[in-house]
């Protein structure tokens, strides 16, 4: 335990030091041996933050590197790549796009020269075909043309149907394709060596979860994930590492209330336009960006649940 803490402390010091010398490198924390995570800002995309608002990172095996969520722009992707190269010269064989949202995928273009397999859920190509052009436009609008330059959709080359087992060199990684939850194309990763679950946006900590899939489905996936024994979990937004399953207690509470209170609103004939004022009010002080996303979450849950 102390050794792990020491590694983290040294890594943080190195990361901090490296950032001072090379502002173009993404600072990361080694949350477990060989697993490096950059903590995204808890904000909406803006010119000031360049859409660096999600947790991104990479896993290093004996033979190869896997990048997980290459970032919100080609610029961030380049900064992440610099962080990889600061630690290892091993080939970047895989880039995993955990789901379709722009803050996780637009860094992929920065890894083109590495020729990696780009991994996505089997439903990701369709989601990209539908939303990709729209996301490219909104990225330019949100962070500016210059900052968004080069941020184009990169198609996955390797699709996950239910499960995909890979090995980075004495480092087996299992990637799971989930049913509709945060989106309908969510992937999670499990690193056997350290007992780490990389959950990306299946897990939100501190920042309000965003419902863009199915609230019923998300509760189901979360219940199943909470049964998995793991030393830690990496959320898509929040601290780089949290205990498991305790780190998902807040999210479980929020999603449960979202579902239960939306059902109650539907039963009392509260309309869809009014429902956001009646659902999850007690969660207000507990989540960053609550007002930005709770109303939208309620609308999505309402539409899903009124047919139950």
């Amino acid at each position: 335990m102390r050794r792990a803490l020491l590694i983290v402390a040294v890594a943080a010091a190195v990361a901090g030091h490296a950032r001072a010398d090379e502002p173009s490198m993404l600072p990361t924390v080694e949350v477990a041996p060989g697993i490096f995570v950059h903590e995204g800002l808890q904000q909406n995309a803006s010119p000031e933050n360049g859409d660096e608002i999600a947790n991104t990172g990479f896993i290093v095996g004996d033979d190869a590197v896997m990048v997980v969520d290459p970032g919100g722009s080609a610029t961030e992707g380049r900064r992440l790549r610099a962080a990889v190269r600061a630690r290892t010269a091993l080939p970047i064989r895989y880039v995993v796009l955990t789901h379709v949202h722009p803050d996780h995928i637009f860094g992929a273009a920065a890894f083109a020269a590495d020729g990696p397999a780009v991994i996505g859920h089997e439903r990701l190509p369709g989601a990209l075909a539908q939303r990709g052009a729209f996301y490219e436009r909104t990225l330019r609008r949100d962070i500016g043309d210059a900052a968004a330059k080069g941020s184009v959709v990169v198609e996955p080359t390797l699709l996950v149907h239910e499960k995909l087992d890979l090995d980075l060199g004495n480092r087996p990684i299992t990637i799971r394709a989930h049913g509709p939850a945060h989106t309908d194309n969510d992937l999670s990763l499990a690193d056997a060596r350290t007992g780490t679950l990389w959950l990306s946006d299946l897990l939100f900590v501190d920042r309000i979860p965003v419902l863009d899939g199915s609230v019923v489905g998300w509760l189901k996936e979360l219940a199943s994930l909470r049964e998995v024994r793991a030393a830690r979990a990496i959320p898509g937004h929040g601290p780089v590492s949290v205990p498991w399953p305790a780190g998902s207690d807040d999210e479980l509470r929020y999603l449960t209330e979202l579902a239960d209170e939306t059902r109650a609103a539907i039963r009392s004939n509260v309309g869809i336009a009014e429902a956001p004022d009646h659902v999850c009010e007690e969660e207000r002080g507990r989540w960053l960006l609550f007002d930005d996303y709770n109303p939208r979450n309620v609308t999505a849950a309402y539409k899903e649940l009124e047919w139950e």
Binding site: P125, G126, Q130, S214, N269, I272, R296, T299, A300, W307
Partner: protein, 273 residues
Amino acid sequence: MKPTIVALSVALLLGAALPVRAEVSEEARAQRWGDLQHAIFGDRAVEDGGSAIRLTAPDRAMDAAIVPVAIALDDALAKNVKAIYLVIDDNPSPLAAVFHPGEAADMREISTRVRVDDYTYLHAVAETNDGKLLQTAHFIKAAGGCSAPAGKDQALAMQRLGKMKLVIEGKRPADEPAAIAAKLLISHPNSSGLQMDQMTRNYIPADFVQSVRITYDGKPLMTIDGDIAISEDPTFTFAFVPGAGSGELKAEIDDSHQRHFEQSWPVRPQAQM
């Protein structure tokens, strides 16, 4: 029967559309509305409805594919209205719906949910029995509603296709002894033709509810001409004045694939069906 609304929408679609971006001038928007008025109402004058007609919708859509829109009329207009037109100016197919009330309808408020494709004005126009056209507008910021992905489970949606639910929401308003508010839910993908199937990556053909005929005790209560701008799983809220005893409310749906669905419910206030 060739639904007027479809022919109209096609005509509008073929006409010049504004570039799809948020930074459009007020002048260009006014021009657009002028063109649409002409396409829908010909040379007839469309007046400002003042406080007689109100359009309620968010200023910024939380989900551009499910934007709740309510149209409220004052007492006088509610008793004298022949039709209400709902227009989403910058949508690919701007005329979203036309509501035709029957005698039993209480037209003080109707609502539905629509897809909004870009920052746009919404317009509601009430046509009175004596031929006047009264308009109101609301500006909304939204994007991508018409091409938003269809529901997560296409297979489930097709299984449930055409099923309806009627929810009696109680008496409205409290001081009116007779009016009952109801919400009709129709399970239907209402595909816009602009959405893509996530697995095959082909465009899902337009497949939408064209006509909703609601009758009460066999008499027309409301007929709604719909288009692709109505959200997936169309939902309409309306009010009506039932007769002396309880009667049967019936809904008949026709969609663009020539499907026909019917369902009826005995009306009992305060009950959910």
